[in-house]
């Protein structure tokens, strides 16, 4: 039927979904070939900016609820691989791209203090591959493709975490443990995919959800779902599968920690959301039961226990890592409500927490550049020596606590509203208690920063290091006052997913 094949003019804009993923992937080998530190940074920075532009264009196109699809190589699904961009993943693509641009800018001056110069080219290549993986996971609508991209991002993440060994050799064992845990998680995930494929014979998300609907409560699908929950639980560091996270975050170079904390776990959570809503039908009894009786308690435990542990930590990177665990608890909790409001709260918190934690880790990184170690005792009085960085840290901290006018407040507000809608009073109180713990561990740092004598030998850092921190801090405030970017799109996404 050759007559039906239309001669289409190729527009660049039609290829945005794939370009989003391919651009960093292509730049990675190029910079390895050049093997020049400056060129590597320039090209990577350029690449991340292109990613950002593409993601903004995609978000623009999908903000009204429309869905962009792209068939890889022109093969129509379910045979071919489909890339599918809607409001839910465009907002994550945006988050990942923005953070990568800012982190890239920060790394131009920050990386030198943690990684030897000759490794920078390879570092940037790994970073770009990690970015590719994360973007790919989010963009694709093919479940096996999800696995492949997840492993691309994970493998490069293990390498990036191990780069911390130039400062502290414990980074190596942290990275190794992460590798073991991450691979177990990924393998569980593949097993789950195998079960789904067994039952439905398809790998395309939309296709599976239609076919699974006909099968009803199928045991094979249930088994697949269980494997995927565990696999993704490992990747997103859901308590009690979190033990790799604190070490990996605290021994990785700051640049990496900053990027991972803001994006990696969110992407894993996104995969879970996608599977629950687009692949499985969340109305199946077994899905809602697992969410109510497993994920919700785990989310609450993460929220409380993560915050409590954070209070007692002296290593600030570890403190923030445990705080991340608690924040992941919030997201899991929002998701576990299986309501439109809960889902939207979860998505909003992903973005808001991404910016907040990136700002905190980056400011902490700036302290560490000066003090050379991440302990509470070493940042004494830096509030006077590094006023700009410290102020940004305070802004990030306030957002983490959820003070009105900051991004964190919005997500907490939405989450509590969703919890009240579901009628779980106690959970709402638990959320607030957890934010009070956040007050304690943030204020512990603020006091040490400001209520000590100004240290002699430290001063404010250069513009290139302070400005990205402040961009993130301003994002924390901006997203707290203008929710058009987050809440509206998240609501749209929740509507589409339901």
């Amino acid at each position: 039927m050759a007559s039906e094949i239309k001669q289409t003019v190729l527009h660049l804009s039609d290829h945005l979904p794939i370009l989003q993923v391919v651009v960093p992937m292509l730049i990675a080998p190029i910079i390895v070939i050049f093997n020049n530190r400056l060129i590597a940074w320039l090209l990577s920075f350029f690449g991340t900016i292109i990613c950002l532009i593409i993601s903004v264009a995609l978000m623009w196109a999908t903000a009204d609820g429309s869905v962009l699809t792209y068939f890889l190589g022109g093969w129509v699904p379910p045979v071919g691989i489909e890339y599918r961009i809607d409001a839910a993943n465009s907002i994550l693509l945006f988050l990942i791209s923005v953070i990568s641009v800012i982190v890239m800018f920060f790394s131009s001056n920050a990386l030198i203090s943690e990684v030897p110069k000759e490794k920078h080219t390879l570092f940037y290549a790994c970073f770009l591959l990690c970015l590719t993986g994360l973007l790919g996971v989010v963009a694709t609508a093919d479940i096996f493709n999800v696995f492949v991209f997840l492993e691309i991002s994970s493998l490069s993440t293990y390498v990036l975490v191990a780069q911390g060994s130039y400062v502290d050799r414990r980074a190596l064992s942290a990275s190794f443990n992460y590798l073991i845990m991450g691979t177990i998680g990924a393998t569980f995930f593949v097993i789950g995919i195998g079960f789904i494929y067994m039952a439905t014979g398809s790998l395309n998300m939309m296709d599976i959800s239609e076919r699974a609907l006909e099968l009803g409560n199928n045991r094979t699908i249930q088994a697949g779902f269980a494997f995927i929950i565990v696999g993704m639980g490992l990747k997103l560091a859901m308590v009690p599968l979190h033990i790799w996270l604190p070490n990996a975050y605290s021994f990785a170079p700051t640049v990496v920690t900053c990027f991972l904390a803001a994006t990696a776990t969110k992407v894993a959570l996104y995969v879970l959301i996608r599977f629950v809503f687009s692949v499985f039908n969340y109305q199946y009894g077994f899905v809602s039961e697992i969410f109510l009786f497993l994920l919700m308690p785990l989310g609450i435990i993460a929220m409380i226990v993560g915050s409590v542990i954070a209070i007692f930590k002296q290593n600030l990177k570890k403190l923030l890592a445990y705080s991340s665990l608690a924040q992941i608890g919030y997201m899991v909790l929002g998701l576990s409500l299986l309501s439109e409001k809960g889902l939207s709260a979860s998505l909003v918190h992903m973005v808001n927490h991404g910016f907040t934690k990136a700002a905190l880790f980056m400011a902490l990184g700036a302290f560490i550049i000066n003090t050379k170690n991440p302990y509470l005792s070493s940042i004494k009085g830096l509030g006077k020596a590094m006023p700009l960085t410290s102020a940004a840290f305070v802004v990030g901290g306030l957002s983490l606590i959820g003070v009105p006018g900051t991004a964190g407040f919005i997500s907490k507000w939405l989450l509590i509203e969703a919890v009240l809608e579901a009628g779980y009073w106690v959970v709402a109180v638990a959320i607030l208690v957890s934010s009070l713990f956040a007050v304690i561990y943030i204020w512990k740092i603020v006091e040490v920063l400001y209520f000590n004598e100004k240290p002699e030998n430290h001063g404010e850092l250069s513009f290139y290091l302070v400005s990205p921190i402040w961009i993130l801090a301003l994002f924390c405030i901006f997203l707290g006052l203008n929710t058009g970017l987050t809440v509206d799109i998240a609501n749209m996404a929740a509507e589409i997913l339901f």
Partner: protein
């Protein structure tokens, strides 16, 4: 000039004065006079708002965060009174603070005045806020901005006090108040302040009781027992901070919020019919007596005044809990008269400290003869707090007694009378000690004298205003009646 612009000017002027403080941090005189100009302009702006106010419904939205959740301002009598009170007293406190900070040789003046000014801006935000969310936003900002003021000395004690201050205020507001706000927003879909309340029939009797509790305790700045500990802890701050913030701005922001929530969210009549605030009456009464009794035992003057404040704040909460028009009027008047009375007392305490470095009442024998103006001002302030004519404080007590009779809660009258007696018991001995007792040695007090003009004049002025308030109280009452705050 349109009202909305005036409101923004009132919000921005203090911030601007604060920033100028940092810009001219090395030129002390220029810096302080610029801020003084700022205080006058702010007060003038508030006056203009007051003159222009004719009861029209006015609402300006700054930006919308989510549907039904916006940062917006409006005008209503209670807010106007509060803004006038805060900005007016800011002038006097600023003059006093300049004298105090120089006299007591405190450090970091520009930082101090920066946060001081910005805290006034947030108070302006609180008084003009058009919905509970905006109020909450500025309420939290006020807590955070006053933190550096409380911990200004930077010593271990200051830090510990400031920590208590922050944890109780943030803890109650995040843990209780926020929950109440979100609950209302979830059920009603709006948080706007509307006369007569917005709750409608969304809440059952039990839920209303819980909601009242979430606000009565959640508004930690009102210092209702058992969340009162932050106020004595905050007394580590320099005295001007204690004077303005912990006699006027912060604590009054608390009780102002209580009244505002009572009038515009719950609705006074609804509260009266549902009788959901009865238990708060008991708590408030307990708070009044309990704090007064503790005040008797405190030898440190500022700590004694702090407990006295806790007791007096509970009067306003009582006005809300009595849930009738007279109670609201009594509460409103109490906000005003107590502000003038207590700021006088605090400034006098500061004057004594600047002149003699003495903080304990037992050491103050005979000082009255050396510092007659300060001690006379203290006496007038004390009588106003006690509630004796011819001073302003008598009116608020008067209306609160009437309100408790109308609510048929006679025991409250007895509590109020006992409290006044206790007030006499802990406030007047200082004056008596100052005037009638002799110091241990004849020469001991010789080296002291009245501190400089900037320090002794402001309390004298506020004392005089306390006196004037007795005669012009009807004017304020009419203002509230005319615009429907009370009937």
């Amino acid at each position: 000039m349109s009202v909305s612009i005036l409101i923004f000017i009132a919000l921005l002027l203090p911030v601007l004065s604060g920033i100028l403080n940092i810009v001219f941090r090395n030129k002390a005189d220029l810096r302080d006079s610029l801020t003084l100009l700022g205080t006058f302009l702010t007060f003038y702006t508030c006056l203009n708002i007051y003159w222009g106010f004719e009861g029209e419904i006015f609402h300006v939205s700054l930006f919308t965060i989510m549907p039904g959740l916006e940062v917006a301002f409006h005008l209503e009598p209670l807010g106007i009174i509060f803004s006038l009170l805060a900005s007016g007293l800011w002038i006097l406190t600023h003059i006093y603070a300049v004298g105090y900070m120089r006299g007591a040789k405190e450090k970091n003046h520009s930082r101090f005045f920066l946060f001081f000014s910005i805290s006034i801006a947030t108070v302006m935000g609180i008084s003009f806020s058009a919905n509970l969310f905006t109020l909450f936003l500025f309420y939290e900002l006020l807590t955070l901005i006053t933190f550096p003021l409380v911990s200004h000395k930077g010593s271990k004690d200051a830090l510990r006090g400031a920590r208590v201050y922050l944890s109780i205020l943030l803890g109650t507001s995040v843990g209780l108040q926020l929950l109440g706000i979100i609950w209302i927003y979830y059920n009603v879909g709006t948080l706007d302040f509307i006369a007569g309340g917005i709750l409608g029939d969304y809440f059952s009797y039990t839920e209303l009781i819980i909601l009242v509790g979430l606000f009565a305790f959640g508004i930690g700045k009102a210092a209702l027992f058992p969340f009162h500990r932050w106020l004595p802890a905050a007394m580590v701050a320099p005295t001007p901070v204690s004077a303005l913030l912990h006699a006027v701005a912060v604590v009054k922001a608390g009780v102002f919020t209580v009244l505002k929530v009572g009038i515009y969210i719950f609705g006074v009549e609804k509260l009266a019919i549902s009788e959901t605030t009865d238990w708060v009456v008991w708590i408030a009464c307990f708070s009044i007596l309990f704090a007064s009794l503790i005040a008797m035992k405190k030898d440190n003057l500022k700590a004694r005044l702090a407990y006295s404040t806790i007791s007096q704040l509970a009067y306003v909460v009582l006005g809300f809990a009595l849930a009738n028009s007279l109670g609201i009027l009594g509460g409103t008047l109490q906000i005003i008269t107590h502000a003038f009375g207590k700021i006088t007392l605090f400034m006098c305490a500061g004057s004594i400290y600047v002149a003699t470095k003495k903080t304990n009442i037992s050491d103050m024998r005979g000082l009255g003869r050396i510092m007659p103006i300060t001690f006379l001002s203290f006496l007038i302030g004390a009588i106003s707090i006690i509630g004796l004519p011819p001073l302003g404080g008598s009116w608020s007590k008067w209306y609160l007694i009437l309100a408790s009779l109308e609510a048929e809660k006679q025991f409250v009258v007895i509590v109020l009378l006992i409290s006044s007696l206790l007030n006499i018991g802990y406030l007047l001995p200082l004056v008596a000690r100052g005037f009638f007792l002799k110091p241990d040695t004849e020469t001991e007090n010789k080296r002291f004298s009245e501190p400089n003009l900037l320090v002794w004049l402001p309390p004298a002025i506020t004392a005089a205003i306390s006196f004037l308030l007795f005669f012009y109280m009807d004017y304020i009452r009419n203002f509230t009646v005319e615009f429907g705050l009370v009937n």
